[in-house]
């Protein structure tokens, strides 16, 4: 049985969860040795391409939630203790083939799921995921790996309580990324797919493909699509409103501390 949380019932119903708490938290299969009905916590995912403002929003939300007294754990792609370094090395070499890369990323994802997310949820943390396996499915599907194969691969993943999708035009994302790092990553521009020799065009074409994949996912998985090109403060206010309703937080006012004030532009 899921933990009851009487102190949070006034914020509206939990999404993706029936009142009895009987709805499964995975996509069809439990992880071996894990009974996912036994833990509470909340899993909140923010998806969006590089330059959509994900990381900024995660920093701000972490501060806001902590100030409201919630313990927060974060996760992201390529952050597992098991294989993150190996993936870095493989990406730098870029001789890796797409199936191998897909499965290395899956290893990275499940390592974090089992060693970071699940322990945090067991301790009633709010887990903020800076991207989730949806990005991994979109990337692999854009490279021609069958979608039903990919969904099968992630069948034991946990279903997030909320998934936000920060939607930006590829052109705007390109500008933001270029301003930030003065270059565009080989992989984020889909250079391995030989779409175009022109970096900008390759990036736009690749991100358009990614967007198609995300649109399909958004509908099926119930993403909350948001305008990632709106100001940081506007996006953050909307995120806080939704998360507050989910967690039963009454007050949604928030001003970033001095440490994070530079993000609030």
């Amino acid at each position: 049985m899921k933990k009851s949380r009487p102190d949070r019932n006034n914020g509206g119903p939990r999404q993706n969860s029936s009142p009895s708490g009987a709805s499964p938290r995975n996509y069809g299969l439990p992880l071996p040795g894990v009974n996912d009905e036994e833990f509470g916590g909340s899993l909140i995912v923010i998806e969006g391409m590089d330059g959509s403002g994900r990381s900024t929003q995660i920093s701000l939300l972490t501060e806001w939630l902590e100030s409201e007294g919630f313990a927060v754990q974060t996760m992201g792609l390529r952050r597992s203790g098991l294989v993150a370094k190996d993936i870095d090395a493989l990406l730098a070499e870029n001789t890796i083939t797409r199936m191998t890369l897909t499965l290395m990323y899956a290893t990275d994802f499940y390592d974090q799921l089992e060693h970071r997310i699940i322990p945090a949820l067991r301790s009633d943390f709010v887990v903020l995921a800076d991207r989730y396996f949806y990005t991994l499915i979109a990337r692999a599907a854009a490279r021609g790996i069958q979608r039903d194969y990919l969904h099968g691969l992630y069948e034991m993943a946990l279903r997030p309580d909320l998934t936000f999708w920060l939607n930006v035009r590829p052109e705007a994302a390109f500008e933001r990324e270029f301003r930030k790092s003065h270059t565009i990553s080989y992989w984020e521009s889909g250079r391995d797919m030989s779409l175009s020799n022109d970096l900008f065009q390759s990036f736009i074409m690749y991100q358009a493909k990614m967007k198609k994949e995300f649109e399909a996912l958004a509908e099926k998985q119930g993403f909350i699509a948001m305008d990632g090109e709106a100001s940081v403060a506007t996006v953050n206010a909307e995120l806080r409103k939704r998360i507050a309703a989910h967690l039963g937080i009454q007050r949604t006012q928030y001003r970033p501390s001095a440490a994070l004030a530079s993000l609030w532009r």
Partner: protein, 256 residues
């Protein structure tokens, strides 16, 4: 992939691409290649590696075009596997995924290109090792079958079957130091490593037996004398695969 034909001068379209046109190797393989794949499977100590070695020597001496490949041999995931094993970070799921990544690398860079270029590929252990061992570790069968969908189906899968005691005794007499995961210690079957190994191997053996019919295994009696078993194996290979396809080309005379 369909989009690879796009060039800068063509108009860019983002019509959804038909799935069936993509990644044919992810479908049930239709053996659309001139090569052939022979696989040996069985628990540790069943004699499979010895038999595949002798088959390989026979073919090598005959000059046939062949390539030999082993389970868990690629440098790609070695550091991750070592790290995971040393620090005991591996769960049944990540253990399974790392081996799948390793296999995918071998499959995409060796096995498939060689099958397409007309080689006879000999594999010491194949995806059935993962099916048997990972199900014994409580991974879902359905998940595993999907995970390895990209693997080409072997032309012959020899399953070397030896009674548990025979196989375990062969291993224990030759190599008494069993490693943590190898002995299935992560499953808490027994505090005694040798006993845990025996129970784990028993579970794997049961999983192999389950696949005999569904995966069309050729069952070989691992208790027979080595040379007798090898003659059986060669006979089956000759009768099932047209080896002339892999025979050395007759040397044409070249003018000096």
């Amino acid at each position: 992939m369909a989009n690879e034909s796009l060039t800068d001068t063509e108009s860019i379209s983002f019509e959804p691409v038909e799935l069936s046109s993509l990644a044919p190797q992810l479908l049930e393989p239709a053996r659309a290649y001139p090569g052939a794949l022979i696989v040996v499977e069985g628990i540790d100590g069943s004699g499979k590696s010895t038999q595949l070695y002798l088959l390989k020597r026979w073919l090598e001496i005959g000059g046939y075009r062949l390539h030999f490949t082993e389970w868990n041999s690629s440098p790609l995931v070695k550091s991750a596997t070592r790290r995971g094993k040393q620090r005991r970070l591996l769960t049944p799921t990540t253990f399974s995924l790392l081996h799948a990544a390793d296999f995918a690398d071998r499959c995409e860079r060796q096995i498939l290109p060689l099958l397409h270029s007309g080689y006879l590929v000999l594999a010491d252990r194949y995806i059935y090792t993962a099916f048997a061992r990972d199900v014994a570790r409580n991974c879902s069968q359905r998940w595993l079958r999907n995970l390895y969908r990209f693997a080409p189906v072997p032309d012959i899968t020899f399953y070397f079957r030896a009674p548990l005691d025979v196989a375990v005794n062969r291993i224990m007499s030759g190599r008494p130091k069993l490693k943590h995961y190898e002995a299935g210690m992560d499953l808490n079957l027994s505090l005694d490593r040798a006993e845990s190994f025996r129970i784990f191997q028993g579970r794997i053996l049961a999983q192999y037996d389950e696949m005999i019919e569904s995966d069309k295994f050729v069952v070989m009696d691992g208790t027979l004398p080595v040379n007798k078993l090898q003659m059986q194996m060669r006979h089956i290979v000759k009768s099932r695969i047209d080896l002339s396809r892999f025979a050395p080309k007759k040397a044409s005379r070249r003018p000096r």
